[in-house]
Symmetry: D2
Subunit: 325 residues, 4 copies
Amino acid sequence: MNTFGTKFRISIFGESHGQGLGVVIDGVPAGLPIGIADFEADLSRRRSGAKGTTPRKESDLPELVSGEFNGYTTGAPLTVLFRNENTLSGDYSHLVKHPRPSHADRVAKIKYNGYNDYRGGGHFSGRVTLGLVAAGVVAKKILARYGIRISASIKELGGITDPSRWDSVIEDAVKGLDSIGGIIECRAAGVPAGWGEPFFDSVESVLSHLFFSVPAVKGVEFGRGFASAALRGSENNDPIISADGKTLTNNAGGINGGIANGNDFMALFEVNPTPCLSSPQHTWNEETGSVETLVVRGRHDACIALRAPVVIEAAMAIGLAQFSI
Amino acid sequence: MNTFGTKFRISIFGESHGQGLGVVIDGVPAGLPIGIADFEADLSRRRSGAKGTTPRKESDLPELVSGEFNGYTTGAPLTVLFRNENTLSGDYSHLVKHPRPSHADRVAKIKYNGYNDYRGGGHFSGRVTLGLVAAGVVAKKILARYGIRISASIKELGGITDPSRWDSVIEDAVKGLDSIGGIIECRAAGVPAGWGEPFFDSVESVLSHLFFSVPAVKGVEFGRGFASAALRGSENNDPIISADGKTLTNNAGGINGGIANGNDFMALFEVNPTPCLSSPQHTWNEETGSVETLVVRGRHDACIALRAPVVIEAAMAIGLAQFSI
Amino acid sequence: MNTFGTKFRISIFGESHGQGLGVVIDGVPAGLPIGIADFEADLSRRRSGAKGTTPRKESDLPELVSGEFNGYTTGAPLTVLFRNENTLSGDYSHLVKHPRPSHADRVAKIKYNGYNDYRGGGHFSGRVTLGLVAAGVVAKKILARYGIRISASIKELGGITDPSRWDSVIEDAVKGLDSIGGIIECRAAGVPAGWGEPFFDSVESVLSHLFFSVPAVKGVEFGRGFASAALRGSENNDPIISADGKTLTNNAGGINGGIANGNDFMALFEVNPTPCLSSPQHTWNEETGSVETLVVRGRHDACIALRAPVVIEAAMAIGLAQFSI
Amino acid sequence: MNTFGTKFRISIFGESHGQGLGVVIDGVPAGLPIGIADFEADLSRRRSGAKGTTPRKESDLPELVSGEFNGYTTGAPLTVLFRNENTLSGDYSHLVKHPRPSHADRVAKIKYNGYNDYRGGGHFSGRVTLGLVAAGVVAKKILARYGIRISASIKELGGITDPSRWDSVIEDAVKGLDSIGGIIECRAAGVPAGWGEPFFDSVESVLSHLFFSVPAVKGVEFGRGFASAALRGSENNDPIISADGKTLTNNAGGINGGIANGNDFMALFEVNPTPCLSSPQHTWNEETGSVETLVVRGRHDACIALRAPVVIEAAMAIGLAQFSI
């Protein structure tokens, strides 16, 4: 379903080419200063425009439909609505019989018996993350009351870890009508020791639930993650070196037994190369009953990872807000 | 909290050295043949005994307290209870002031104001996964009705991928009073296309939520996972090659847009080297207010990853059971 | 919180005098024919206009922001938005210091530290039931697939059970600047035997949860309800008289052990006289620190029960939709 | 399902004639003093023994399987287990083909395809409320920290409000091999103003959800309830008369807009005459395909309402614990 959370609960809605999309945010404490301007910084980080991002331009101006009064949150559900503007839906109609590889086209058709809005991926579009980012803005305001700061950044693009070479690897992908993936790191500082629960509401469980809700994320690790598998316990353990729980190393990424231990959170995310390509691909044509070459025109991101950090931050913030008191 | 699921809901309880532990399983269809013998195979895979596992021996005999009648599930909550037998609780009392590094000792004390049962990790013990494995047995029965088969296996131990060398790497760890981690692979065959939901109930979201509930798991990836970040879209996309949705490659691990696409599920899991070591470690002594050397006697697993595959299978089964119809 | 349901999940939002209000409906099966016209009949039954209802006039035109495509539901969240038009917010500012008796003014101020939108009751306004009615329209469409029909009607107004006298009792209340309550009956025919769960998801539990969410409802009974307390078991029991479970009497209102038994559902609801009156009342003035006379101008319903049946039907439909298969 | 609550979550399990029954309680604050003796007072109020209650005798000795350590709650799930002892299961086998009127026999058989444990009502038995009462004991401990006191008592038995006549009305029912119902009142003092939520988590919604989970409850009203329908608003409104929100009358039963207003909670509950009778009744015989006379031997309560107040208190306490901070 499209609702997440108990204490801080979000319900996202909308499609890429429909009337609009957005989020209803429940459990917002009353009295947070809030206005449209508060959303601008994060929305602009998500917005396309840079090289390697889609030429579809949207102003993404949020409307606060409910939950705001005189510049403050009221405690009632906060609804943030975005109108779609720049929709060229004619681009997509041929995909009904000819699903794009590695996209949701085919599974959506099966799941919804062909009634899904297939235009631009419909409800499966990355555009629906607008609601996540908006909710993240509010969650960050809650977390700021605890002194928690979240920041995500790109660590690798197209297999390259050296940032000086990213421009050229993106350019190559654009020229090749292809796409590239990336790896994002997200950190959270200031999470109070004791947040989290054992087992099903472990910090890692709640956060990974949200991280894997972000389209294109196919891998998540906390702390040293997969690399810890090759370490011995004596190397991987983080010695506690002060009364406030600070550790000499932070291989655990700030989380023991599912509970924050007072050290910084650190997590890594794999972001797939977007499956939407302008180059020819092979896929099944349901009408002809054979594998055929598909060329998707539309407007695509050659490197969706460029726009992902702020979405990952939002997921982290929404997740941590579940544990606030 | 300690409950997971809506359609198939499990509530786990218990501590390592208390009276017992187990699980209440709700949403079990009536009429599944069930008996104590059904649990034996999976419980024995989780049980210690092999080299590299703890010398603590438990019979782990399940009692079906409720939900079973005349050899079948009744549709009412199925309660599986395990009694603790072989508890040596004297081992742990000194850990109250001297928390083990990278263990939950310190965070549990903070979270529960010192009232937590610290013996053997209490409710944070890996022993609580007995309830998960029991629930997994029931979930697998549900999934078998759909023809779904789940299997997990070890892919790497102590940084070694060659199985012929695992015995010696374990032996080395035991001799060194140390521990080693591992990487587990889990596959599910036969998941019907269309299972899953967009965003918050994506297959990856629901499954990762459970996977990260398993103690020691710090990394999860689906399909090709982190490796996809270095591929181009044209390499990473899985061409659809038949009417039933089979793909030429399976980089997506059987999941597109959060929805099963009919191909096999494949996921990888990092399992940390257990933080419980018999070798000396440095940690904070809360009484003396200084870093000191801690030697934990107790009984430990040098390689908990050996016992993890069946727990991972259980998590996969419990997660998939949420999507059954 | 403002979300209800697991299988069919609604999230309501909005305030009486804000930008708008509405509902996000998740779990809607794909392929239901849907259009704005489908909402008109139920919305008009909820709309004011008759004698005894508020002179505030609203067109209540729904907008389908998401989840609809080519005249059918898509399976993605269906968002129904209503814009507020006829708001006279100046009426309410004096209520901040002078809360209306038996209204939510004072508790909302306490709960939300004074940040609540107090205009027209804000999020506590009966106007928020627009979202319930809209969700009810969709739920009824789902239930119609099972042959379930729901209808609610007024049984008593102002203590009078004879419909021929209702006009005059309403007129008296209007003239007296007062308000009257009523009793509503709701029936559901065709609910399949077996729907419902024991205990916490009993039909009565789920339905009453929703019924008591409707503002002004202070009493709910199923079947013969309170009257059964004075019967003997031999009188109150419903003899089963046919193979399909039909009973001679229906004192249980179609529900045994929390489960539908195949007979008609019957429930009664008390609807309070609206606490908004134009006549002088005594209440505490927080500024002066004394009991004073309050005269609320605004626009009120003398008999909100007139508009309640369709809201009760919606609650019944939303509740029953949880049990659909 | 058999789980209720988010903040304070209970999962009940068990059958009347199975191995045992009980409850897993999650969200219990660490550090509450707890021991078996704490349960005795409430369990004895629920226990049979008085005239009009079943001759089945059970010691109902609770076992604390998990969540307790050194006499205090640990913060981990608290499991309370009761073993069944005095089971005469031979009494019930003939009910498979001959369901008792107004009992769950027939609906359970339909819902669970005949796999339900039919002995003594199985999971539908009032005996399962043992788990509710146990959870209520814990919830009351939490509420006591806020100064909240809950008490329920009988207001009417067999249609008689005068307590001096109750003994004889019960005796008549026993002699007539019949049963009688009753009306219970429950009050809660000290609930802080501001507890509760608008709409779906209104105090009335959450509480009624639990109240209607109690077998035999068919009517619930808050404050003046159904009687308010015949009052004018000017009569029904509760004038606020002091700075702390005390009202001159308390027709609202302490709740406005779903939120506690600081006045006492008051609610009434109808408890049906138990449908289990020893006198002959008519019901459908599924084997012969005709209405026949059924005589149920077994052991029954002639007046289950006698044992209901402590169950109602438990439901009130469990519900209020959801709102604790």
